[in-house]
Amino acid sequence: MHTRNLLSIKDLTRVEAFELLDTAHELSRITDGAIKKLPTLRGRTVVNLFFEDSTRTRLSFEAAAKRLSADVINFSAKGSSVSKGESLKDTAQTLEAMGAELIIIRHGASGSAQRLAESGWIKAHVVNAGDGTHEHPTQALLDAFTIRSHFPAHKTDFQGLRIGIVGDILHSRVARSDALLLTMLGAKVTLIAPPTLIPIGVESWPVNVSYSLDEEIPALDAVMMLRVQSERMDDAFFPTEREYSRDYGLTTERLRALKKSAIIMHPGPMNRGLEISAASADSEQSVILEQVANGVVVRMAVLYLLMGGAPIPTEGVLV
């Protein structure tokens, strides 16, 4: 890859994105057996710098780094010097002074990963693990990986695939990264939400927009349900949870309208009964747990490619 950081899907070319997915596939094949661990990043230090609670993303990155034999330092902002007013700059410089070569950052402020990487504060590689309402590129990569594994005919081109992203587009970093990546790979992406949850300026995105899930659902090959954050309720983005669920939830009726070949996705954690019914979440078409598993191998590929680890052995090696 030409980039030394992964801050946004825009850091990747189409060719690089497919290469990254290929690398992830290779890593999954090798670590699928009894041997889970590769020595490629032995002696290298990776930091999980998490200013927001996100147990699943942090664990996924931690598992990815450990399977590549990297040393992992977890830094959670809560109860740390950050809550005493230490700045992002000082925190990052402190961690680099402790030997961090790559910093995985999750932060509530949009653009914080880019600031960390491009302000001259540190030299370490930076991976964006979700910045505010901006992007979450590794989530998009694991989504693409998951879609690809279910549509082998589209291994090198997503053209012809129709993907719906449903829900709170306005506040979703997953939606931004998914829209950029999946369209770059060739898919047709439709954002489906009430107008209150679609950003002003969305015309500049390479996507279609629809206010009706019922109209869109029969044509979709993949439907990505976004989590409804409870705080959105207080800001009058929609009248009630019940009304939202009725219009934009993946209900059991809508599950029946979905093509049998279509897959159901969710970045988690789910609100069962709100944006997705239990029947949909647990249906055979649901690939939500696969997404979690794929997250680890995709993040392994990201760390491996950014840090330029030793070549991947053809078979798993005991370390």
Binding site: L88, R115, P199, I200, V202
Partner: protein, 433 residues
Amino acid sequence: MRNNDFLLKNAVLADGVAVDVEVRSDRISRISPGITSELPNIDVKGNYLLPGLVDLHTHLREPGKENSETIATGSRAAVIGGYTAVSAMANTSPVADTAGVVEQVARLGKAAGLCDVYPIGAVTVGLKGDSLSEISAMAQSAARVRIFSDDGNCVSDPLLMRRALEYVKTFGGVIAQHAQEPKLTAGAQMNEGAVSSRLGLKGWPAVAEESIIARDILMAHYVQSRLHICHLTTKGGVELVRWAKSQGISVTAEVTPHHLLLTDDLAEGYDPIYKVNPPLRTQADVDALRTGLADGTIDIVATDHAPHPSEDKDCEWAAAAFGMVGLETALSVVVQSLIKTGLMSWPTLVNRMSTTPAKIAGYEDHYGIEIGSFANFIVVDPNAEWKVNRNQLHSRSNNTPFAEMVLPATVVHTFYRGVHVVRDGQLTGMKYE
């Protein structure tokens, strides 16, 4: 002792007329071509002689935030930029909402002695928007405050705004409104549009500014008072002011240099040097602001000079402070945006940056270059260019968005009440006492 009488030779007024100007006892004693005098001669070599610039919107941060700026350092930045009068915004700590604070600001301005520092008074106590501050006491104080503003906050309560507009009629004051509907802009970070949608930064819709402008125009008309709109930034706002003027409503408006040159796509790198309130808008807005300033819909340029220490900008966007310094670059940015583009002439620039702001505020010592008036004027080389160097600013803060830009026009000399405070672009160390 006032031993600084002099004769300025070979000056050219904004309208192209070549003159010499004699200054005796702080005031202009003669203006005409070919004056000879025993006084020291200062040859300005055919450069423009313009009245000193007048700023109606300057954050000098003192009292309370002296790590960003003081009245003394802000005065230095002002005269380097060609300003001989600035208006100190009320959002200090304590807030300039009593006669005591505005008199202190005026006194510190006099002590600095480089330019006139006119305090602006807060409309509401503590800028809180709950109750009117003692406006009359500030007006009658030694500081003789005429402009009142809660700048930084909008006087969003319509009843309070009505009362403020009515109240200042007693002494011919003006309310300078920071037009920002607070509920539409809660947590807002940048202009709402294509760029904010991609960056995931909370949008600041144009309508949040325009709805307040529309409301207050109607209110000013209703109570027959004077309204001044601070830092207009949107095309729709320009159209509202244009309509108001066509109806004979007593409204004036200002635009900042940065909104005349910069656009919201600069936020793409998340560098908070471009974070400002109100936010940078789109090119269509910039074009409308330029046209509005040229045709007089927008009356004046005001800097909204807003110094911040580096730690408040060297951080993530959301954590950063809003604001940009502007005193030292304003003239050049306006020349770049309006004169280099052929939209405006030098005499109009003088009107927008000096005489009209002075008249809006009633700064009588700054009504222009006339015999008998105080010698508040500057010499500008319109053909020179300079590169903005963040580390060479005279403000205590260096949060300029124009760093490394090459801009036209330099301020060669600044004279304040006859004192040669800037010579060849450098502070002389002299001050008016």
